[in-house]
């Protein structure tokens, strides 16, 4: 233990020294940590494998609860930590262990990775920080410099990293992918995905996903007339291995669901993270809205593959099947939620399913082997669909279309019943946890920005209902207050029985959230509200057992890991990362 204490002392001083001498010394520190970890226990680990993050470790990521090896913790995207040191009995004693200060005007939307006692996280715009996961002390940092003007729709944010071997991968707002050495913070390679200024602007704010030796990377830009895709890159070289066009191009199957030339500018981006089923070798990834968002004059048709889930062969990028949740979307209801792969009983039979609480307000259960629709049930108030046919196609209720001067009676609102924030599945309760949004907003048929409009079109104009929770650095990062009537907008954590879509309990909060949830083996569900109240709920009953007032809006999803053998829970709030432990 003496060696470890000496190392920790060294780590504590590292930041000051690095300040003086740059990152090289930081690299030396990390090399020391790795050498150390090979010899015995790493600072943050007890029994999990040490050394590089191999694909084999990624496949069994759920078996390493002390680490957080990928965005959703495991390929099935449960965002479930089996750690149970912190549990429903003792969570009342949970307290703040450390804070990492982003010192940035933009909020954190990142999910940190934790590997062998080191936390890797992205800070806006595109910086990477390596921290001691026990103390939050900085080990090194890497900064990717974007051009001053980037074409992100909703803040200069980044949602996190992927890791393979000793390499970290990050997407950038100017449409690059970078590989960075996890030991030093040195850049290994950099690849341009495409011209970030084309067609009104592309960006890549999501976290990438490693599958085998490939890096799967999505892109954003659906507020402009972009042409969407999902890419795979060689993790060693950065060479592009395949590209799947999310709008079928001439000659490809399913071409022709867009009137005229509207497919050329149809949007359909892939801006969040996906999931992977090793058993069937299938990659699942959600797609965004068709463009123009709220004006369909130029794009009659189903607009494939917008608002869909794609099932792809990760080796080739070939489409296995797709399911379109919202054909011909008019409300910006992206289907970019994280796909959750679980096996559940459906009508008396165990099925391999894909569980999906969609932005359009419905919870869907699909057969993940073939994309067959099993059931759907609203999990928030909705006014637009009376039901579904056997194929899962919604039967529309008229009168929900955006109108020139605005339609404010459609539920859910533009930000949906769910959005990009992670849901969580607990094998303990066998329920799915969703931090859902209840609200209606103004839908204006104003989607085609005129040629001289600088900003992308977003329905935030006056007359819209309060944009509760706008991130406002002028307010010290606190949200601007929600003056919406309680019956007009609120948030709720719900537990859904995945086989039926039945809501088992509901925990209501003041404001529609922008944070995700994480279930744990301690019978807890963690999350944070837009006002910055970090909470733990009893995952069986929904009872709130613990809170912490971070007073910065939570725009991210929690993680849990071990540092020095002790369970920690970490969540971004505003421009801070707050981390909690028991003692």
């Amino acid at each position: 233990m003496l060696f470890m204490e000496a190392l920790l002392e060294f780590l504590k001083g590292a930041q000051t020294r690095m300040h003086k001498w740059g990152v090289r010394l930081g690299a030396a520190v990390f090399t020391a940590a790795v050498v150390f970890s090979l010899k015995g226990q790493a600072p943050g680990q007890s029994s999990a494998p040490q050394g590089p993050v191999t694909y084999e470790r990624l496949l069994k990521a759920a078996d390493e609860p002390g680490n957080w090896l990928m965005y959703s913790h495991s390929y099935n995207s449960w965002r479930y930590s089996s750690l149970d040191q912190i549990n429903a009995q003792n969570v009342k004693n949970l307290h703040l262990k450390w804070i990492f200060q982003g010192r940035h005007i933009e909020k954190f939307e990142t999910t940190p990775l934790v590997v062998n006692g080191i936390m890797y996280l992205t800070r806006p715009e595109n910086a990477i920080y390596a921290l001691d996961a026990a103390t939050g002390r900085q080990l090194w940092s890497y900064e990717y410099r974007n051009p001053p003007r980037t074409y992100n729709c909703c803040g200069k944010v980044n949602r996190g990293l992927a890791m393979l071997g000793n390499t970290l991968f990050m997407n950038t707002l100017d449409m690059h992918v970078v590989a960075v050495d996890a030991r030093s913070g040195h850049e290994i390679w950099k690849t341009e995905m495409g011209d970030y200024t084309a067609a009104g602007g592309y960006a890549a704010p999501g976290a990438p996903l490693v599958v085998k030796d490939k890096l799967i990377v999505g892109m954003a830009g659906g507020e402009h007339g972009v042409n969407g895709f999902l890419d795979a890159y060689d993790t060693k070289t950065g060479a592009r291995l395949w590209r799947f066009n999310t709008i079928p191009q001439p000659g490809e199957p399913n071409f022709g669901t867009w009137a005229g030339d509207s497919w050329k500018t149809g949007g359909v981006t892939t801006w969040n993270n996906g999931s992977y089923d090793p058993e069937t070798n299938t990659l699942f990834w959600g797609t965004s809205n068709p463009w123009p968002d709220y004006n369909d004059d130029t794009r009659p048709g189903d607009n494939l593959y917008s608002c869909s889930v794609l099932a792809l062969d990760p080796d080739t990028g070939k489409l296995k099947w797709f399911f379109q949740f919202t054909p011909h979307d008019l409300h910006d209801w992206d289907s970019t939620q994280i796909p959750i792969l679980l096996d559940t009983e459906f009508q008396g039979q165990m099925r391999k399913t894909l569980a999906w609480a969609n932005r359009n307000g419905f919870y869907y259960l699909l057969d993940r082997t073939n994309g067959k629709f099993l059931t759907a049930k609203a999990f928030v108030k909705q006014t637009w669909a009376k039901g579904f046919d056997d194929n899962g196609r919604p039967e529309l209720i008229p009168g929900n279309e955006p109108t020139p001067e605005g339609n404010d009676h459609t539920w859910p609102g533009v930000d949906g019943g769910a959005n990009w924030m992670s849901h969580s599945y607990s094998p303990l309760t066998k329920w799915l946890y969703v931090f859902a949004r209840e609200e209606h907003r103004l839908f204006s048929k104003n989607a085609v920005p005129h040629p001289t409009t600088e900003e992308p079109d977003r329905p935030l104009a006056p007359g819209a209902l309060p944009n509760a929770g706008a991130y406002d650095p002028a307010m010290g990062g606190a949200k601007t207050q929600n003056f919406g009537a309680p019956e007009e907008s609120w948030g709720k954590v719900i537990a859904i029985d995945p086989g039926t879509g039945t809501v088992k309990w509901e925990h209501r909060v003041l404001t529609p959230p922008w944070g995700g949830v994480m279930a744990t083996g301690g019978n807890l569900v963690f999350g944070g509200t837009l006002e910055g109240v970090v909470f733990a709920l009893n995952s069986t009953t929904g009872e709130r057992l613990w809170t912490f007032s971070a007073n910065g809006p939570v725009f991210a999803s929690p993680i849990s890991y071990l540092a020095n053998g002790k369970q920690m829970v970490s969540i971004p709030a505003g421009d801070l990362i707050v981390t909690f432990g028991l003692d």
Partner: protein, 364 residues
């Protein structure tokens, strides 16, 4: 080039009843005395940087509310209340009930400013209930002030038009050339950006009115104005480009209207009849006038004594709208150019998402 028949048409318009924007029968000095004294208004409201902070600041209430709306606020404070001023009622488990205004709230606690002006914070665990009522903390003055006193208070409030204009408020740039991009004027989504129907409704133009629109362009507002004034009213559609007048004519024809007179304007003279107009409407055009001073002076001459001038411009500093700063203006820039030409600001319209809408009346 200006048709001669318009004078005859004008005489058909009947006398107009008083509009909401033209009630001016109170005594502002007496109103101020009531505001500071008997009414007790200043114990809750500030004016600019002076006064109490419980109620909304009234520093520019004279241009953001009509006299009708101000009077309504005095007699029925709940009628048009903003959500920020709903009454928050907090009931503690100890049995205390506190009323106030919302300051902040999360899932654990709520912060209010109580009726004495003090900020207070409560843990929700300590409360029996906390809810918001769609009512104002302000008392009704219906039985506290006489009708005349209320008129006086309204007259005083109407004098509150924000801080004086800074000396450098005028546009530093030269007027722009006449706009000719028809595709921009016909852009999809223009209705949502400019809310033309709500705008024209908000002007409360009575049927039978005589209106001129300067810079009629594609007739986007022209036909709406013409529908509003009705068969007994009349709209002069002025543009300096014959191409635009042709487009205006098409729009008028499409809506089967016969009460629009096309007028080819000059750079220095809109060619309008003297002292005959109830309203002059200029949308997205003022910034490009070659000789704005001469045009606005001519507008002043063309308006009746109680006539109104409406200027709509893309707002400087908002994230939407034309990128070219020469096509945007601030409220102060508009005021600094219009007011010295015999006008005073009557009201600022608050319904436009990306534009400023200013209504001026003639200075007596």
């Amino acid at each position: 080039m200006v048709a001669a028949a318009w004078v005859a048409a004008l005489t058909l318009a009947p006398p107009l009843t008083a509009q909401s924007g033209s009630v001016r029968n109170g005594n502002a000095a007496a109103g101020k005395a009531i505001f500071d004294g008997k009414g007790g208004c200043s114990s809750c409201h500030s004016i600019g940087d002076r006064g109490a902070s419980l109620g909304p600041d009234l520093g520019d209430i004279g241009i953001t509310r009509t006299p009708k709306s101000l009077r309504l606020a005095l007699t029925d404070p709940d009628a048009e209340i903003f959500k920020e001023y709903y009454t928050v009622v907090v009931e503690t488990k100890a049995g205390e009930t506190i009323r106030g205004l919302a300051l902040n709230e999360d899932d654990l606690s709520i912060q209010i400013r109580d009726i004495n002006g003090y900020p207070r914070s409560f843990l929700k665990d300590d409360l029996k209930s906390a809810h918001r009522e769609q009512r104002s903390l302000m008392p009704s003055y219906a039985s506290r002030l006489s009708g005349t006193e209320m008129d006086d208070v309204v007259a005083y409030l109407r004098t509150l038009k924000g801080p004086p204009l800074p000396a450098d408020a005028k546009r530093p740039r030269q007027p722009h050339h006449a706009y000719s991009d028809v595709s921009f004027l016909n852009r999809i989504g223009r209705d949502a950006e400019e809310r033309p129907d709500s705008l024209v409704n908000a002007l409360e133009i009575p049927a039978g009115a005589t209106v001129a629109e300067i810079g009629s362009g594609t007739g986007y507002f022209t036909w709406r104005l013409a529908e509003k004034v009705g068969l007994r009213g009349k709209v002069f559609a002025v543009d300096v480009q014959q191409k635009m007048l042709d487009l205006t004519a098409q729009a008028v024809k499409k809506h089967q209207l016969s009460n629009v007179q096309l007028v080819l304007g000059g750079d220095h003279d809109p060619h309008l009849p003297a002292a005959s107009l109830d309203l002059v409407f200029i949308a997205n055009a003022y910034h490009e006038f070659a000789d704005p001073g001469a045009i606005i002076a001519a507008v002043n001459r063309a308006l009746k004594a109680d006539g109104r001038l409406v200027i709509i411009e893309f707002a400087e500093g908002r994230p939407f709208g034309p990128q070219d700063k020469a096509e945007r203006m601030t409220i102060n820039q508009i005021r600094a150019e219009i007011e010295p030409l015999g006008f005073e600001l009557d009201r600022v319209l608050e319904l436009l998402p990306i534009q400023h809408g200013l209504i001026f009346t003639k200075r007596p």
